[in-house]
């Protein structure tokens, strides 16, 4: 252990102040969601509410006119299914592209990689039309397939599969193991941290996605949380305390996941250098 240095303490304190300034918007949001409407916009800001209205506000969100619980459930469903599907097919493809030698592998990989550059907005129109034809429009399955169609997971996981020594694979093959056995018994356990990272990232991105549900969903009963809070916000108009309670409710589950898995998320982002 190094001894505590004064200069280090001072910088830490200084940075602490900067950090609090940085998350002040979040603190304000949380505090506003606890207040009665009339106190929200008061200045100077009451960081700790003088009057509490927390139960009422959150009741309005969760048991009010907008079916928040349903939106939560829809989001959870779409996100879990997208994450599971995306993780499965990405891991399989990543294994195929890194540990199996087959004809045309490298040129196919370049094609797949090139799709990475296509902005999602540039293909919205054809996707929309195809979805109408295929009957995938206005369905959760449609959203799940869209979320899983990205190639980022394949690319990210491939990097990690490449790190597995070929000798391990070879010796398993000499023991007459097929690729599926090697993939599921040997390769997957070896890249577990990368899988966890991609899983969390995919979860966050799908949970937060607004664009795809906005375009590919119509029925209110299928709405995801992001569409839901937007609707709730329009609905509550100038009731900022309610709006903030809705926003807190939308952010909270992810915040909890993030705080639990912060190491995986932050290291994963740094390792793969990826952005959603």
């Amino acid at each position: 252990m190094r001894s505590i240095k004064l200069s280090r303490v001072i910088v830490t304190l200084f940075m602490g102040v900067a950090g609090i300034l940085f998350i002040m918007p979040f603190l304000w949001m949380l505090s506003a969601s606890f207040k009665p409407e009339l106190d929200v916009m008061k200045y100077p800001i009451q960081w700790i509410p003088a009057k509490w209205n927390m139960v009422e506000n959150y009741k309005q969100v969760w048991a009010g006119a907008v079916p928040f619980t349903l939106y939560y459930w829809n989001s959870a469903k779409v996100t879990l299914m997208s994450t599971a599907l995306s993780l499965t097919i990405s891991a399989m493809a990543a294994y195929g592209f890194s540990k199996i030698v087959f004809k045309g592998r490298d040129s196919l990989f370049i094609v797949v990689l090139a799709t990475f550059m296509i902005p999602t907005q540039a293909i919205l129109v054809p996707q929309f039309i195809m979805y109408r034809w295929l009957g995938l429009f206005d369905s959760h399955i449609g959203l799940v397939l869209l979320a899983a169609s990205g190639v980022l997971g394949t690319f990210l996981l491939r990097q990690f599969f490449l790190g597995i020594h070929d000798e391990i694979i070879e010796s398993a093959r000499i023991d007459a193991a097929g690729h599926w056995t090697i993939f599921s018994r040997i390769a997957l356990p070896l890249v577990q941290p990368a899988l966890a990272t991609y899983m969390i990232l995919r979860f966050i991105w799908t949970w937060n996605d607004y664009q795809n549900p906005l375009i590919f969903l119509r029925s209110d009963s299928l709405f995801t949380l992001q569409l839901g809070i937007r609707k709730f916000a329009d609905f509550s108009g100038e009731f900022y305390s309610l709006m903030m309670a809705g926003a807190v409710s939308a952010i909270l589950p992810l915040l909890i996941i993030f705080i639990i898995g912060q190491k995986q998320v932050i290291e994963g982002v740094a390792m793969g250098s990826v952005k959603g």
């Binding site: 200069s7 907005q121 900022y240 932050i266």
Partner: protein, 314 residues
């Protein structure tokens, strides 16, 4: 779905020789394609075919309500129209202005990362704090900032008035300030990502270099400019390019925060594309815009390709 190879396949042909090798490579070909096929099928149907269709539709004046009969090729009309469309120009210019977010966020992130890396306790705590906006949904962030920016009694203007600013800006309500307001939020949300990447970059720089510089009597500031900055140039370059590409794709924030307004002052290409495609229902025109957007992103990527060798110095 997967072919689970018969356990004996390889053993049966286990004698070293050409027969086994051929069998093995045949089996590998099949297995390879089976492993990549779910992903390949999905990407082909949902990304590759759509982008090709987008290219075709961009040469037509089609809209998807009229059905296939309404499909009519119009050559380059959509593209020439884009050249004269003022709304498109404004969106493009707004996109170009928004690129300024990238260096600002990078600079702040680098300063924070350098301080956190060398001079503070509780590193994880700081990482978590700055990363919070990155994991929050843009919908929630937009709703939050809409209230914070409230021109009359929002907390930001409340603060500005309390320190003596007589007429604080109206932020999102003022066409002159709306774009800068959006950009402030973008800096806020992207700071954490940039910082985490810089921290990873900083950890890769060998301590020996600094120790050697210490021996030579170089000041910390000099060390920063002579060692840290040059050695971080690949990281900076990566952040610059992903940041620029990312800034072209900001949709959720604009959609919820301003809806492109007031008076088109915060419209960006992706937002205008959405309006044209799904509100004006001009599929052909929207597709042309999508292709232009793709070209812009390809251009940035090409610069990256060439630039990586030239400008990254070590």
């Amino acid at each position: 779905m997967e072919v689970i190879p018969e356990e004996g396949t390889i053993k049966r042909y286990g004698k070293p020789g050409t027969g086994r090798m051929r069998k093995q490579s045949f089996y590998d070909n099949i297995a390879g394609y089976l492993f990549i096929s779910p992903m390949l099928i999905l990407t082909t149907t949902l990304v590759i075919i759509p982008i090709l269709l987008s290219g075709v539709i961009s040469f037509s004046n089609w809209n998807f309500v009229s059905g296939l009969e309404g499909f009519q090729l119009v050559g380059l009309d959509n593209y020439t129209r884009l050249m004269q469309d003022e709304s498109f120009h404004r969106s493009l210019i707004n996109n170009l202005i928004m690129i300024a977010v990238v260096p600002v966020a990078m600079f702040l992130a680098l300063v924070l990362a350098a301080l956190i890396n060398k001079a503070t306790y509780f590193k994880t705590f700081f990482k978590v704090i700055y990363f919070m906006p990155f994991i929050s949904s843009f919908v929630a962030i937009a709703l939050l900032w809409r209230v914070l920016y409230h021109p009359n009694n929002g907390p930001i203007n409340g603060f500005l008035r309390s320190i003596g600013v007589e007429n604080p800006p109206l932020w999102l309500a003022d066409p002159k300030f709306a774009l800068i307001s959006v950009m402030i939020i973008m800096v806020w949300t992207s700071l954490g990502f940039n910082m985490v990447i810089y921290l990873a970059g900083l950890q890769n720089i060998s301590r020996d270099l600094y120790e050697a510089a210490d021996v030579d009597g170089a000041s910390p500031l000099r060390q920063f400019f002579r060692i840290t900055l040059p050695l971080l140039s690949p990281t900076s370059f990566f952040l610059l390019i992903t940041g620029i590409v990312g800034s072209f794709k900001v949709f959720d924030l604009i959609m919820v925060l301003t809806g492109g307004g007031p008076a088109g002052s915060t419209s960006v290409i992706v937002f205008y594309l959405y309006e044209v495609a799904f509100i004006n229902l001009e599929s052909g025109y929207a597709s042309a815009m999508g292709i232009i957007l793709l070209m812009l992103i390809l251009l940035v990527t090409l610069i990256q390709w060439v630039g990586q060798k030239k400008w990254v110095n070590y």
